[in-house]
């Protein structure tokens, strides 16, 4: 599943979950571990907004091609491992019906300094939006089924 890899600076602790379960931030937070050399942790939370374009929505129905999504996330994690010294990378993407106000994405990056944590976290989300097969179907307030 993993491309040829160059020598990396640190061993990356990776956790990836693509799941219909609700994202439970306190539980995820309680499972965090950071070694003495780590000085920065960033968490990003993506939440379903009440409007999608001009439309007012009640939820987004997320669909994925799960096996490929997991593989594409692994490729992105590999690339991050090559570029930045990251100790821990955890990502949860919720799929299925996610109501307005609920999180669909949770990302945590732990690294020695904040610069690389910010860079890796933004790279991860950008690349996800480019390559990971996940799609959104907004559920509109009126029809409850419009696309």
């Amino acid at each position: 599943m993993v491309n040829s890899r160059e020598k990396t600076l640190t061993i990356l602790k990776r956790e990836l979950s693509i799941t219909t379960d609700a994202i439970n931030e306190p539980v995820l937070l309680a499972r965090r571990s950071m070694s003495d050399g780590m000085g920065a942790a960033i968490c990003f939370l993506g939440v379903v907004r009440g409007e999608e374009g001009a439309d007012s929505i009640t939820a987004i129905d997320y669909e994925t091609f799960q096996q490929m999504a997991e593989h594409q996330f692994k490729l992105i994690f590999d690339e991050i491992e090559k570029r930045w010294p990251i100790e821990s990378l955890r990502l949860v993407h919720r799929i299925g019906m996610v109501r307005v106000g609920e999180p669909s994405l949770w990302v945590e990056v732990i690294s020695p300094h904040r610069g690389e944590a910010f860079a890796a976290c933004q790279f991860l989300i950008d690349e996800m939006k480019r390559a990971v097969p996940i799609w959104k179907k907004p559920i509109s307030r009126r029809s409850q089924s419009a696309g």
Binding site: F65, M68, E70, R130, A131, V132, I134, W135, K136
Partner: protein, 81 residues
């Protein structure tokens, strides 16, 4: 040979199905496969430029030559997050 093709997102609505089998001859590229699928599912024609194509779990260019056992997935631009 027979190639299994899976559709995701609103491509399922355009084709009216989640997956199909397409008969192709040896040496068929993804571009040629797409043309054959348009003949069956005309609404795919408008999507040709923006369609992403994977074989297995990897993206492949239109020049990719299909081989026995390949599973193809067609879908619109992704939008995770």
């Amino acid at each position: 040979m027979q190639i299994k093709v899976t559709f995701y997102s609103y491509f399922k609505d355009l084709t009216g199905c989640g997956e199909t089998i397409q008969d192709v001859s040896d040496g068929t590229t993804l571009a040629a496969l797409y043309t054959q699928l348009i003949a069956r599912f005309s609404k795919l024609a408008a999507m040709e430029k923006s369609t992403l194509i994977a074989v297995g779990v990897e993206y492949q260019p239109r020049t990719y030559i299909l081989k026995e056992g390949d599973q193809v997935a067609l879908f619109p631009p992704v939008q995770g997050g």
